[in-house]
């Protein structure tokens, strides 16, 4: 299910949070409403951790992670690093890396299997991404923009990219990522997809300006509509047919 929320009158929820299948990071400050919106949806399944990175609240844009690991920029303080190591599950490897392009969330987009990165990222960083996050790394641009982490958001089930992405690019990316992709917007026409929303395999949080149309596109491409009989049957189809035979 997709939920609409705000951080202090700001609809850019992907800036102030980082959501994966194993944990969720939320910025400090802001009202408790923001934090409780995440807790309400996620607390049963995954830990929701309040943190800052380098003393700032824009944690969603500075770090990148998936269920296997979390990469932090060099601006992260030792206390923040320790806090994250303590709060996250043990199987999540938390690593601080020295990369000139320190806004990792803007430069790298990933799910649990594939990552797209900024074309100018260091070779060493690319290796860290492959090791810590356990993904295959592709250097790409999206609609001509090199900040791939900002202009697309994808999970293991689907993805949303910059609205000006051409059909050829969409097909190419979809093949690389092995998930269905759609070009669209969030927060009433904002092209910066990843800043406007946070998504994982079963839930999404969008800015409160997101229109009903945008929300329905998001729910459909990320396959968030649970409880639909067709969805359940599709998943179970293989085992059903086996049993009929």
């Amino acid at each position: 299910m997709a939920t609409r929320i705000q951080f202090e009158n700001n609809c850019e929820v992907g800036v102030f949070s980082k959501l994966t299948n194993a944990y969720c990071l939320v910025a400090i400050g802001g009202s408790e409403n923001f934090y409780s919106a995440f807790e309400a949806e996620l607390a049963d399944a995954i830990p929701v951790v309040k943190t800052s990175i380098g003393g700032t609240r824009i944690i969603g844009r500075l770090c990148v992670g998936n269920k296997n690991g979390l990469l932090l920029p060099h601006t992260t303080t030792d206390q923040e690093l320790q806090h994250l190591r303590n709060s996250l599950p043990d199987q999540v490897v938390v690593q601080r890396i020295d990369e000139r392009l320190s806004a990792l969330g803007n430069c790298i987009a990933c799910n649990d299997h594939v990552a797209l990165t900024h074309p100018d990222l260091d070779k060493e960083t690319e290796e860290f991404i492959a090791d810590v996050l356990g993904v295959e790394v592709f250097r790409q641009t999206i609609a001509g923009n090199i900040l791939v982490g900002s202009y697309c958001a994808f999970s293991n089930r689907g993805g949303l990219v910059h609205p000006h992405t051409s059909i050829e690019d969409l097909d190419e990316l979809s093949t690389l990522l092995q998930v269905p992709l759609v070009a669209g917007t969030v927060n009433r026409g904002s092209e910066v997809i990843a800043a406007g929303m946070a998504v994982n395999d079963w839930t999404a949080f969008c800015g409160s300006d997101t229109t009903a149309t945008e929300l329905s596109v998001i729910e459909s491409v990320f396959k968030l509509r649970e409880g639909q009989p067709t969805a359940i049957v599709d998943d179970m189809r293989k085992s059903l047919i086996d049993s009929y035979v």
Binding site: N9, L62, S102, A103, P119, T141, G144, N145, S190
Partner: protein
């Protein structure tokens, strides 16, 4: 964000900034590289004082800015078609044409030529206007989106200031543009430098955002007398009260201000005749204007007593980020201040000052006086 073509490398500090913030950073190098001298074109100067003018930017990062392809918007364009272009041709001269030296220009004022133009508000300005109004009230959530919507819907009274566009269709079609996503227009849309409008509290009384504003102002007002006056304006006399909203970035050229306010008050008087229904015409016959602005108040200088007297004299008791607020405050019938809870800016010179909100009411009769004083102040 121009989608075509790959952008040149941006320094790491830029990666986390919004496209808009990046697009308003320019250096002498980029300015000279792309701009041919155009002596006949109208231009307004934007003295760029790398120091503490940019919102949300520490000073030294702005200096080391590398040219970004967004800079093409900052070039001189053809003369704008809209009504109130400021015409100033004196240029601060050749400091801009020093191409590559990033060392030598570090202490000089860098100026860039830019054409500003006034436009009627239109729906595509949503994100730019929202950005300007983000700090209108404090950080408590309120219906900001609805507020932006009513400002944009009121095309007869209200002006937005953007960089002049040399796309003829854009202006001739009354701002409706080309319908389809025109990339040039979409580049321009988020680059709003300023906004001015006045909203009738009576006409919009039922809107969620106006109710939120009224509730907020009544809750932060500590002064009993002011509260009584405020309540009467917000409730009894609401149909003759206009909420005057003027928001702009700190580096907005002050020379444009008299024209901006003139545009607004002229549109208000035209609306009292031109609006289609009598009800709408009457909604613009304002007797009072209400303003919600910010100001900086000096914190009690307990430590300064030991310092020389010269320090105390130099420190103003109150600083108005927008210069016309001082004139409004002088001419106001009543006003009150309230503390702002959200994060204060961490600038060095401002550390002795606390940011406060200021609410004031002006009688409509005082407006001609205001216009004269503003004109006088700007031409000093």
């Amino acid at each position: 964000m121009p989608p075509g073509g790959r952008k040149p490398k941006l320094p790491p500090t830029f990666a986390a900034l919004s496209p808009f913030a990046r697009s308003i950073i320019f250096t002498a190098a980029s300015a000279s590289a792309k701009r041919p001298p155009r002596p006949h074109a109208a231009a307004a100067e934007t003295p760029r004082q790398g120091q503490d003018d940019m919102p949300r930017q520490p000073p030294k990062r702005a200096r080391r800015a590398e040219p970004s392809s967004d800079d093409e918007e900052e070039e001189e364009r053809g003369s704008s078609e809209s009504e109130d272009e400021e015409e100033e041709e004196d240029s601060f001269g050749t400091s801009e044409s020093d191409g590559d030296g990033d060392g030598e220009s570090s202490e000089e004022l860098e100026t860039v030529q830019a054409d500003f133009a006034f436009f009627d508000p239109k729906p595509t300005d949503f994100h730019g206007v929202r950005l300007l109004l983000k700090t209108y009230l404090d950080s408590k959530p309120w219906d900001l989106t609805g507020f932006v919507d009513i400002i944009l819907a009121q095309t007869t009274v209200g002006t937005v200031v953007k960089l002049a566009d040399d796309d003829d269709d854009h202006d001739h079609h009354q701002g409706q543009g080309n319908g389809a996503a025109d990339k040039k227009n979409s580049n321009d849309d988020d680059d709003l430098f300023g906004l001015i409008s006045v909203l009738s509290l009576g006409r919009y009384a039922e809107h969620r955002c106006i109710k939120d504003i009224k509730e907020y102002l009544l809750s932060v007002c500590a002064d009993k007398d002011a509260k009584k006056q405020l309540r009467s304006l917000l409730e009894g006399k609401a149909s003759s009260v206009g909420l005057l909203v003027c928001r702009r970035f700190v580096n907005f050229p002050y020379e444009l201000l008299p024209k901006l306010y003139d545009a607004l008050f002229d549109e208000v008087s035209w609306a009292t005749e031109d609006e289609p229904t009598k009800e709408l015409q009457d909604s613009f016959r304002f007797k009072h204007y209400l303003l919600v602005v910010r100001m900086l108040e000096r914190k009690t200088p307990a430590k300064h007593k030991s310092k020389s007297i010269k320090d105390d004299d130099d420190d103003e008791p109150v600083i108005y980020p927008k210069l016309e607020d001082e004139i409004f405050h002088e001419l106001s019938s009543w006003s009150f201040t309230f503390p702002i809870r959200s994060e204060q800016s961490a600038q060095q010179e401002m550390k002795n000052y606390k940011e406060m909100g200021l609410v004031m009411a002006i009688k409509a009769e005082a407006i001609p006086k205001f216009r004269k004083k503003l004109e006088a102040l700007v031409s000093e």
